[in-house]
C-alpha cells in the first residue's frame, strides 16, 4: 500500500459515519470533509418523502449498520482486460499488487488519489469536490467525509492515452455488512484524450458502494467513458458522477447497470463553455427484485452546446427502474441542442418503471426534445418473425437483444462490450442465437 489511511472504522447505527483522513492531506481537504460530514448529518439518509427519492426506499439500508471495508484481496481474473492501464481498488482501498499501470505516455498521471493528495498534488487538491453539490447528494457528502482512496487521472495538454484506463472496484463482503467510498478525480487538460472504464464488481456478501467520480474536461479534451456496474446481488450501489466541461470538449459516457440489489446513479453534467458536447447514454438490465434508479441532470450553462441522452432499460421479474432526467438550459444558453430519451422494455408483468423526463428552459432559441416510453415486445414483430418459421422464444430474444444492441454497440472497449453481450445472452432464453445476429 502506498498510503496509510486512518478513518472512522465503523458506520455506526445505520449510516451515521465519521470523518476519514489521509495522512498528509491538506487543511483544505480536511475542511471539505468536515463540511461534507455536517451536510450529511443535516440531511441524513434520504426518505421517499423527498422528491428525488420518491421511488427508491432506503429504509432497510438506514437500519443496517455497515462497517467501512478494510483491506482485503480478491481474485480479479474474471474482470481483467487484456490490455489496459489498470488500477484496482478493493473495498475502496488501492490494491497495489493487483494493479498494473504499465507504461504511460508523456504527461499522463494515473494512480491512487490518496497518494496524490498526500503529496499535495495541486491538480488533485484543486479538482476534488469542485463539481459536487453536497446538499443535493447526501451520499456524495458521505463519500467526501469518508473516502480512503480512489483513482486520480490527470492528462496534460495534448496527451493521448491509447489503451483503455481500467478502474476496477471490487467489493469484498465480510462477516457483516461493509461499505466503501471510492473517490475518483479525472482531469483532462486541453485537447487531451483517453478512454476510461469505471468498473464495479463484487465477490459476494452484503456491501454498500458509494462512489463519486468527478470529470473535468478542459477546452478540446475528449474523454470516452464506460461505467459498468455488475456488483453482486447483495450489494447496494449509490453513485454520483459529475462532469464539468470546457469549450469544445467532448464527453461520451455510457452507463451500464446490471448488478446489485439496488443501484442508484446520479449524473450531474455541466456544459460550461460554447461547443461542449456530452453524450450520456445508458442501459440497465434488471430482473428478479433488482431496483435501479438513474437521475441525470444536464445543465447547459453556455450557448452552442449539445447533449445527447439515450437510456434504455430491460426489466424482467419483479424488478423496478426509476429514470429521472432533467435538462436545464440557463438564460443565455442559446442554440442549445439537447436530446433526452428513456425507453423501457418490460419482459414480465411484474416489472415496473417510473420514468420522468423534464425540461427547464430559460433561453428562447434552443432545440430540446425529450420523451420516454415503457412497453412490451412488439407482438406484430414477433408474429412476423414466427410467420417465417422462427420460434417465439428466439423471436423474443432477438428483439430484446436488438433493443439493447443500440447501446451495447456504442461501448468503446471491446472486452466490456463482450461482457455486456454475455449478460444479455445469460438473461435471454435464446440469447446465444440472438447474439449471432449482431
Amino acid at each position: 500500500m502506498s498510503q496509510t489511511a486512518t478513518t472512522a472504522e465503523t458506520f455506526i447505527d445505520g449510516l451515521d459515519a465519521g470523518i476519514g483522513s489521509i495522512e498528509g492531506e491538506s487543511e483544505a481537504i480536511l475542511a471539505l470533509r468536515l463540511e461534507a460530514s455536517r451536510s450529511f448529518a443535516a440531511t441524513g439518509v434520504p426518505t421517499p418523502k423527498q422528491e428525488e427519492w420518491r421511488f427508491t426506499n432506503l429504509k432497510a439500508l438506514a437500519a443496517t449498520p455497515h462497517d467501512l471495508g478494510g483491506p482485503a484481496t480478491a481474485d480479479i481474473s474474471p474482470w481483467r482486460l487484456t490490455d489496459s492501464h489498470r488500477l484496482v481498488f478493493v473495498n475502496g482501498r488501492f490494491a497495489d499488487t493487483l494493479s498494473q499501470i504499465g507504461e504511460l505516455p508523456e504527461g499522463v498521471t494515473i494512480g491512487s488519489l490518496a497518494t496524490a493528495l498526500s503529496a499535495e498534488n495541486e491538480r488533485a487538491v484543486f479538482a476534488l469536490g469542485k463539481g459536487v453539490d453536497l446538499e443535493s447528494h447526501p451520499f456524495a457528502a458521505l463519500n467526501t467525509a469518508n473516502f480512503v482512496d480512489g483513482a486520480f487521472i490527470h492528462l496534460n495538454r495534448g496527451a493521448v492515452v491509447e489503451k483503455p484506463i481500467h478502474l476496477l472496484f471490487v467489493s469484498v463482503g465480510g462477516d457483516g455488512p461493509i461499505w466503501s467510498a471510492p473517490r475518483n478525480v479525472i482531469s483532462a487538460d486541453p485537447t487531451a484524450q483517453a478512454t476510461i472504464v469505471e468498473h464495479y464488481v463484487g465477490t459476494g456478501g452484503e456491501t454498500l458502494t458509494v462512489p463519486v467520480t468527478e470529470f473535468q474536461l478542459a477546452p478540446g479534451a475528449n474523454i470516452k467513458h464506460v461505467r459498468l456496474q455488475e456488483e453482486g446481488r447483495e450489494t447496494r450501489h449509490i453513485a454520483l458522477q459529475t462532469s464539468r466541461q470546457g469549450r469544445d470538449s467532448r464527453l461520451e459516457s455510457v452507463a451500464l447497470n446490471v448488478g446489485a440489489a439496488l443501484s442508484r446513479t446520479n449524473i450531474d453534467a455541466e456544459l460550461g463553455a460554447p461547443g461542449a458536447h456530452a453524450s450520456l447514454d445508458g442501459l440497465y438490465l434488471v430482473e428478479d427484485a433488482q431496483h435501479t434508479d438513474t437521475q441525470i441532470k444536464v445543465r447547459h450553462a453556455a450557448p452552442h452546446c449539445t447533449s445527447h441522452e439515450l437510456y434504455k432499460g430491460i426489466l424482467d421479474g419483479k424488478s423496478r427502474a426509476v429514470f429521472n432526467g432533467r435538462i436545464v438550459v440557463d438564460p443565455g444558453a442559446q442554440k442549445t441542442d439537447a436530446i433526452q430519451s428513456n425507453r423501457n422494455l418490460l419482459l414480465s408483468a411484474g416489472a415496473l418503471v417510473n420514468s420522468n423526463p423534464q425540461l427547464e428552459i430559460l433561453a428562447d432559441d434552443v432545440r430540446c426534445t425529450h420523451g420516454s416510453t415503457v412497453g412490451r415486445l412488439d407482438e406484430e414483430a414477433i408474429f412476423y418473425l414466427r410467420s417465417r418459421g422462427i420460434a417465439r422464444s428466439t423471436a423474443e430474444s432477438l428483439l430484446t437483444y436488438a433493443f439493447a444492441a443500440e447501446i451495447v454497440q456504442e461501448i468503446p472497449v471491446a472486452e466490456i462490450r463482450e461482457r455486456m453481450e454475455r449478460h444479455l445472452v445469460e438473461r435471454l432464453p435464446q440469447g446465444e442465437l440472438a447474439r449471432e445476429a449482431f
Binding site: R386, S387, G389, L399, A402, A405, A437
Partner: protein
C-alpha cells in the same frame, strides 16, 4: 393441399369471417378479391396462425392434417408463407440474418442440415436478383427505412428464399407502380412450378394480368359471394362489387 370448411372467425367477439368454404389443390393460383374490410387479411392471418383470431366454427385442413393445431412457426416450417399487407420493421436485426435463421429453422424441421454461410449467401444473391432487390437492403435491418415498394419486394424475396408450399400474398400489389408490379409478378411466376400453390389477395384486377389465377373468389362481408374463373376479375373491374349482393354464390371452384 388446403381446405377450408365453413370457417367462422371472430376477433374480440365480433364475427369477421362468416362461413368460408375453399379448396386449393397443389399448383393452383387462387385470387381473392373484395372490398376493404371484407375480411381478406383476416383470412390470410388465420391461415398464418395469428393467435388473436378465434375460430368459432368450421375447420382448416392442410396437407391432410388439422392446421389449427399448429402454431405460427410450425405452419411456416410446414410450408405456409404469408407476404404481409403491411410488412413489419424489425429494428436491429439484419435482413440476411433474419432470413438465414428462418431458412435454417425450416430446414431443421425438414431434417435437413443448416446451409453454411457461403451457400446461403449465394442463394440470397440469386433470389435478390430475381426480384431486383438492391443488395444494400440485405444488410439493413429488416424493412427498416425501406420504401413501400421495397418492403413488398422484400416479402417476395423472402418467399423466394424460403420456397413455401403455399404462399399467401396479401395485397402485395397495393402501392406498387407498374414496373414494381411487373417485377413482383415475375418473381411470383418464377416460383410457379405446378406444385406450389398461391392465394393472391388483391383489390385490383390489374395484378391478375400478370399473375394469372386459376380461380377468382369474391369475399364480401366475411363470405365468399362468388367464385369463378379469371373472367370474374374482369367483370368486377367493370361493374364493382355491388351487383354481387343479390346474386347467389356459386359453389365450388
Amino acid at each position: 393441399m388446403l381446405e377450408l370448411n365453413n370457417l367462422h372467425v371472430s376477433v374480440d367477439g365480433t364475427e369477421i369471417l362468416k362461413g368460408i368454404d375453399l379448396e386449393i389443390n397443389p399448383g393452383e393460383v387462387h385470387a381473392i378479391m373484395g372490398p376493404n374490410g371484407s375480411g381478406k387479411s383476416t383470412l390470410a392471418s388465420v391461415l398464418a396462425g395469428r393467435e388473436e383470431y378465434e375460430i368459432t366454427e368450421g375447420d382448416i385442413t392442410y396437407s391432410g392434417a388439422d392446421l389449427t393445431e399448429l402454431d405460427a412457426e410450425t405452419r411456416a416450417r410446414e410450408g405456409i408463407f404469408l407476404a404481409f399487407q403491411y410488412p413489419v420493421e424489425i429494428p436491429g436485426v439484419s435482413n440476411t440474418y433474419f432470413l438465414r435463421s428462418a431458412l435454417n429453422a425450416i430446414r431443421d424441421h425438414r431434417g435437413e442440415t443448416p446451409l453454411d454461410a457461403m451457400d446461403f449467401l449465394s442463394l440470397v444473391k440469386e433470389k435478390a436478383k430475381l426480384v431486383k432487390l438492391d443488395e444494400k437492403l440485405l444488410k439493413r435491418p429488416v424493412n427498416e427505412g425501406f420504401s413501400g415498394g421495397e418492403k413488398k419486394r422484400n416479402e417476395i424475396f423472402h418467399m423466394a428464399v424460403l420456397e413455401p408450399k403455399l404462399a399467401i400474398l396479401d395485397e402485395t400489389d397495393s402501392g406498387l407502380d407498374i414496373d414494381a408490379l411487373k417485377i413482383v409478378s415475375e418473381g411470383v411466376n418464377a416460383l410457379r412450378d405446378g406444385e406450389r400453390s398461391f392465394v393472391v389477395i388483391t383489390h385490383y384486377q390489374r395484378l391478375l394480368n400478370y399473375i394469372v389465377p386459376d380461380f377468382v373468389h369474391v369475399l364480401k362481408d366475411g363470405k365468399i359471394v362468388r367464385s369463378g374463373g379469371r373472367e370474374l376479375a374482369l367483370q368486377l373491374e367493370d361493374q364493382g362489387y355491388d351487383w354481387l349482393e343479390t346474386e347467389p354464390a356459386t359453389v365450388g371452384a
